[in-house]
């Protein structure tokens, strides 16, 4: 059944059907095959609605809304002007700043989709203006956003910790090393890219200019304060911080800067709703499809055939990496963790692998998977928000995927990348 399902989906996808159709038809074929007809289709509807119900998803439309208000108004521009005043003269400086902003925002908000929107919407136009190619910009944004999975708080790690009985605190610390390593590698690639494509630099700003830029950005600097201070300071949950940003953005743009009319607010809300719907219907369809995969016990069937119980630790880690990578290409990451972790639990135990290392490797694969074609939430979000064709959004992805997979392999052979900080913090 698995082969049939995936073939149908790929064909429909390539023919140019709206992306929800391959997922929905895949799910429907699964239901019809398993239950001998259309008798249980109501459960498919149930799972679609279940897919968009998790409370944490609310952060996505909220950050889309806030980012859209900021971008239509002046806040985003002022923040970026400030950044440019400091890094505009460095070749690749803007790209590195974008990667860092994605990492920081993603780390705190915990949502890769929200990161794509919140950091991508204001920074992408500026990067294009600065001379970067769109394919590079989109890939940089999408892939940097995924570092969010590795840096705490990380919902993927929490789920893994609960399902596998691993310390979440240790997982959180173990994610930081690989997360920062990826950021460094992305930054190096960005600088190389900027040099090779001869992206022009701006003249170096004087300290007076920098001062003025900072002054201009004083109000908008409230956003990072709300997000970072609010969440780490224990005032907001990420979702609430997103809503607080909406409120703050409205106050700034409508009252302080007067750059957005009430009609503009309405239009922005409408556009936010539209983008949300376009992405969430895919989340819904994906949830129905995930249910089919889970119910039919397809992963169990595939994995029982390859004899992992006889493998050594390194081989097991490779199998786990590949299984999660492939799983996340088609199915929602959280569901992949819920289904696969218990399947691998016995072999992880018998090979004596450190569950914290396994959790970090899994989280990394989950991050890679959600930015990897054909089905990836961050790709969908980027398409919906930036209105670029699918192919263009993923065209610049390969170098980033190579870096990510390189880190994944490095992590298997040099577990200290993840465990160094953990051992330091939990020594004795």
């Amino acid at each position: 059944m698995a082969a049939t399902l995936f073939s149908i989906m790929i064909v429909l996808l390539l023919l140019g059907f709206p992306m929800m159709i391959p997922l929905l038809v895949g799910a429907a074929v699964g239901f019809v095959t398993m239950f001998g007809g259309f008798g249980q289709m109501e459960t498919m509807i149930q799972q679609m609605i279940a897919g968009i119900r998790p409370a944490s998803l609310i952060a996505v439309p909220m950050f889309i809304f806030a980012a859209d208000i900021m971008t239509r108004g002046q806040s985003a521009g002022r923040l970026i002007d400030m950044v440019m005043a400091f890094v505009g003269h460095v070749r690749g400086g803007l790209a590195v700043s974008t990667a860092a902003a994605c990492t920081m925002f993603g780390a705190v908000s915990g949502s890769t989709q929200a990161t794509v929107v919140a950091v991508g919407s204001p920074l992408r136009p500026r990067m294009l203006k600065a001379g970067y190619k769109d394919s590079f910009v989109l890939a940089l944004i999408i892939n940097s956003a995924d570092i969010a999975f590795l840096i705490p708080p990380s919902i993927g790690m929490i789920i893994y910790g609960v399902v596998s009985g691993t310390s979440i605190a240790e997982l959180f610390i173990a994610g930081i090393g690989p997360g920062l390593l990826i950021l460094v590698l992305f930054s190096i690639y960005s600088i190389i890219y900027a040099r090779r494509h001869d992206v022009p630099t701006e003249p170096k700003s004087s300290w007076a200019e920098r001062g003025r830029a900072v002054q201009g950005a004083l109000w908008p600097l409230g956003f990072p304060a709300i997000i970072i201070g609010g969440i780490y300071g224990g005032i907001f949950s990420p979702t609430e911080a997103a809503a607080a940003c909406v409120l703050y953005a409205l106050i700034l743009e409508v009252i302080v800067f007067r750059s957005l009319s009430l009609k503009g607010v309405y239009e922005t809300a409408k556009s936010t709703g539209l983008i949300t719907a376009v992405v969430f219907i895919l989340v819904a369809a994906g949830a129905a499809f995930s249910w089919v995969i889970s119910f039919a016990q397809i992963p169990q069937a595939i994995l029982s055939g390859i004899g992992i119980s006889e493998m050594g630790p390194i081989a097991v880690l490779f199998v786990i990496s590949i299984a999660f990578f492939i799983g996340c290409m088609f199915v929602d990451p959280i569901v992949v963790i819920l289904i696969l972790v218990p399947i691998f639990a016995p072999v992880v135990q018998s090979t004596g692998l450190d569950p914290v290392l396994v959790g970090t490797i899994i989280t990394l694969q989950v991050a890679i998977g959600s930015a990897t074609p054909p089905f990836g939430c961050d790709i969908f979000t980027a398409i919906a928000v930036f209105k670029r064709p699918y192919i263009e959004v993923i065209r610049g992805t390969p170098p980033f995927i190579v870096i990510l997979l390189g880190v994944a392999v490095a992590l298997i052979y040099f577990p200290q990348i993840a465990l160094f900080l953990r051992d330091l913090a939990f020594a004795g």
């Binding site: 023919l15 140019g16 609605i49 909220m62 136009p125 607080a244 556009s271 376009v278 219907i281 064709p389």
Partner: protein
């Protein structure tokens, strides 16, 4: 128009997220039907905007309640869940109107105009059928749910009330795709949706 990967286009492109566009609604239908269609579009738009604004207000109010009045809004999460269902299902038909549903058109784009037209008729018809099917089962799901009498724990209202957007949204989306197929059959141009001529992904296009 076909749009093969074009680095030059890439480099020169500076206007990007046309965030300033207003989504103007037009109807593909003549006469009274057109008026009704346009009214539905307006309602969808208002629901979308209201849903997003309410969600923000609800979430902020919960924080204010917690810190200022020392008590959380106990139904806040349930209300957000209701709103997200509303936004998603009011939004999918609105997105269908404006040709905004995500698709991978790489192979489609390489076809000659006639081939694209045939493909678009096929895609729109099949999609419409799928939507009508889902509308039917969503309706069934609501009936089952209503029969069980399940209540939302905090708001204590029947769960099925919160789901009525699902069959409605699927039906309206199905109608949009059916109209798109129809428009492609009767007219010379290629339509991505009732409101949008082909050209997704380029900046010079957008609403007719």
């Amino acid at each position: 128009m076909t749009r093969p990967p074009d680095p030059a286009h890439d480099e020169t492109q500076t206007t990007t997220t046309d965030t300033t566009d207003t989504l103007d609604d037009t109807s593909a239908l003549p006469g009274v039907l057109g008026t009704i269609d346009l009214m539905v579009a307006r309602i969808e738009a208002v629901l979308l905007a209201a849903g997003v604004l309410l969600m923000a207000a609800n979430t902020v109010a919960n924080v204010v309640g917690r810190y200022v009045f020392g008590s959380s809004i106990f139904f806040s999460e349930e209300l957000n869940r209701i709103l997200i269902i509303l936004i998603t299902f009011a939004g999918i038909s609105y997105a269908a109107r404006h040709g905004r549903h995500i698709r991978m058109s790489a192979i489609y784009d390489t076809l000659p105009p006639r081939g694209r037209k045939v493909m678009m008729i096929l895609i729109a018809s099949v999609t419409a059928l799928c939507m009508f099917g889902l509308a039917w089962y969503a309706f069934g799901f609501i009936r089952t749910s209503a029969g069980q009498g399940r209540l939302l724990p905090s708001l204590q209202i029947p769960v099925w009330w919160t789901l009525i957007w699902a069959p409605l949204g699927f039906t309206l989306t199905g109608i949009q795709y059916a109209l798109t197929a129809y428009k492609n059959i009767v007219e010379d141009d290629i339509y991505l949706s009732t409101n949008v001529l082909e050209g997704y992904g380029t900046d010079e296009e957008r609403e007719v």
